[in-house]
């Protein structure tokens, strides 16, 4: 096991997959010469050359279209959308094209493409550079949506995503880029669609995604001081969702809190809570609680963003509510 950072793990995953498979290439704004706005692609141009590490104009529709066309014709593109907010410029290519091609075309083509992007508030980046929009994409059949929270997960899941034959939206979190963690020394992948128990516990199941996993773990140590033992589940993949992992845990604890950063209304938490209500209602000892962002854009100013961003405290409160 070697210690590295989340952003380095992304870089390593890209490099290793490009070494392994000559049909993998990387494209996006500033990814080649500059090595990526967050240095995810640093060093790849020198190693693999300009045919495989491609700087594009600022053209999100073009970038995703490029990936679709290349994937349809035998390549395995990994393209970068610098901030998740900008994917809205390319919605047609993602939603109407990439997601539907295999189905529409009678199940013949494979579409092995990865769109890497990053989401998240907390850096005062304002309403157009901070959003978490995963629910929009999870709502689209044909796409897979992956959202890793740890260094090991980001590496193993990115490598698996590159090897997967479906279009995948791979959502990193800008506030996690500096996070440290260990990765196995050998080549490894993690299964897409399989969640992970980040901490076992018997009293309450907290299903958390991305940055909120870390908030849930902090909440867990605070709650353990009060004798409440929470289980933290990280689905890692938003779609397809590891239903059985979540349901099994809820059946064990009888209580569930869903914690995610995107806007609470009509978001990921609504899906998970509804699923629990449908399939584990009789095991529940309390109504499911959701922690998400309030129904407003992400504000810029420090006190407003702080008030906006859900975190540890909200999880602690919600857990206390369900154990009462």
């Amino acid at each position: 096991m070697a210690e590295t950072r989340y952003i380095r793990a992304v870089n390593d995953a890209l490099r290793e997959e490009m070494e392994r498979d000559g049909s993998v290439f990387v494209a996006g704004e500033d990814v080649a010469l500059a090595g990526g706005s967050f240095s995810a692609t640093r060093g790849l141009l020198d190693k693999f050359g300009a045919d495989r590490v491609v700087d594009t104009p600022i053209a999100e529709t073009g970038i995703i279209g490029l990936a679709i066309g290349a994937a349809l014709t035998g390549l395995r593109p990994v393209v970068e959308i610098m901030f998740m907010d900008f994917i809205t410029c390319a919605m047609d290519q993602v939603v109407n094209q990439a997601a539907k091609i295999r189905y529409m075309f009678g199940g013949k083509p494979k579409l092995p493409l990865v769109i890497r992007t990053q989401c998240g508030a907390g850096l005062n980046a304002g309403p157009q550079h901070s959003q978490c929009l995963e629910a929009w994409f999870a709502h689209v059949p044909g796409l897979k949506v992956v959202m890793p929270s740890t260094v090991t997960d980001v590496k193993g899941l990115l490598k698996a995503s590159i090897r997967d034959d479906n279009p995948i939206l791979f959502i990193e979190n800008k506030t996690l880029y500096g996070l440290k963690g260990e990765v196995p020394d050998e080549d490894f992948t993690l299964p897409i669609g399989k969640g992970d128990i980040k901490k076992e516990g018997g009293d309450v199941t907290v299903i958390a995604t991305s940055r909120m996993v870390h908030q849930a773990l902090k909440a867990a140590s605070k709650l353990s001081e009060e004798g409440i033992d929470i289980e933290v589940i990280d689905p890692r993949t938003i779609s397809p969702l590891d239903k059985s992992l979540i349901l099994d845990s809820v059946k064990k604890t009888g209580r569930a809190v869903v914690a995610f950063e995107e806007v609470k209304f009509a978001g990921f938490g609504a899906e998970v809570s509804a699923m629990i209500a449908e399939e584990a209602f009789s095991d529940l000892k309390a109504p499911v609680q959701r922690i998400g962002a309030p129904f407003c854009p992400v504000p810029f100013s420090k006190p407003l963003e702080k008030a906006y961003l859900p975190g540890e405290e909200e999880i602690v409160e919600a857990v206390k509510k369900v154990v009462k």
Partner: protein, 322 residues
């Protein structure tokens, strides 16, 4: 050539100085940790903003970008709420909700800065449509960078404006960089202005955007064209980004000569020298002007610093009209 009188020339210099000193203060305060978020400065590009807005009326519109403080100032918005917004204070133009990248001041025809590259261009076309529809004689200037011309939104906007002969001027501030990528990475032509050839009714020019009077002249022609119903102009102003893409950018991607060479293209030094040669301004006059501008900026800075942070109770206000 320019028929600017003495007063106009001094006013142009004052606008450029105001932008420069405003942004220098923003830079200092950002470095000191006083300003949150991302800051993109237009230091070195002041001649484009000052020149392009010089002949716009208060009721004319502009839209701008993540690098838009200069255009706000040149359009005449108030300096205090502008500074306060950048500090995220409740007295800012957007009550601290938008910050540097999202400043808007509808009272001054400033339709908004934008965090989405090319995001403001289609809306500017809409404002031009509205001006024509309402027969108000207003024109619109939409500012964007060379990098923005890679976006589909730019072409869709130009096409609509061309077909409908809308009163809009597409002002490209070509500083030769799109974030960390030089022009040749994202454009296969020499000049952005060449892009206008694909549309029927778009006039185009490429000018030295560091020469403020050239910008004034070119805009005068474009504004005249727009107001007389002859349609849009694409005006490309070649200019120079002195700082990094954002404040704190170490610019590792940028050749040393490019960073060191920029000061020789300083549009303010150049204009000051010209005005002195022309006898429009003497040393004492220049000094007095600088003092005056410094006073304005200092006042705005104090205002911003002393202003309260927004109250978090207001988080959910204004998502909708109630």
């Amino acid at each position: 050539m320019s028929k600017l009188d003495k007063e106009s020339k001094i006013s142009l210099l004052k606008t450029m100085l105001t932008i420069r000193k405003f942004e220098e203060k923003v830079s200092e305060n950002f470095a000191a940790g006083q300003i949150p978020g991302f800051i993109h400065l237009s230091i070195g590009q002041e001649a484009v903003s000052a020149g392009a807005c010089f002949n716009l009326r208060k009721e004319d519109y502009i839209s701008t970008t993540h690098r838009g403080h200069g255009q706000c100032i040149a359009k005449g918005v108030e300096i205090r709420p502008l500074m306060a917004e950048i500090f995220g204070k409740s007295t800012g133009y957007c009550k601290g909700r938008g910050g540097s990248m999202h400043i808007a001041s509808l009272d001054y025809g400033m339709l908004g800065a934008n965090g989405i590259v090319a995001g403001g261009i289609p809306m500017a076309v809409g404002a031009a449509f509205s001006a024509k529809y309402r027969k108000t004689d207003q024109v619109v200037a939409s500012f964007f960078g060379d990098g923005a011309t890679g976006e589909g939104a730019f072409y869709e906007s130009m096409n609509i404006a061309s077909i409908l002969k809308l009163p809009i001027i597409f002002v490209c501030e070509n500083n030769k960089w799109a974030e960390f990528s030089p022009q040749q990475v994202h454009m296969d032509i020499e000049n952005v202005a060449q892009r206008a050839k694909a549309f029927g009714n778009v006039a185009a020019e490429t000018i030295d955007g560091n020469d403020v009077e050239l910008v004034v002249d070119a805009m005068e022609r474009a504004i005249e064209r727009a107001r007389s119903g002859n349609g849009p102009t694409l005006l490309e102003c070649i200019t120079t980004r002195f700082h990094g893409h954002y404040e704190g950018d170490p610019q590792k991607y940028r050749p040393k000569e490019d960073i060191e060479g920029v000061r020789s293209k300083d549009p303010i030094v150049r204009y000051k020298t010209k005005l002195k040669e022309e006898g429009v301004l003497d040393d004492a006059g220049a000094e007095a002007l600088e003092k005056e501008v410094e006073g304005i900026i200092e006042d705005a800075l104090q205002f911003a610093k002393e202003s309260p942070e927004p109250d978090s109770k207001e988080l959910l206000n204004d998502v909708y009209v109630n």
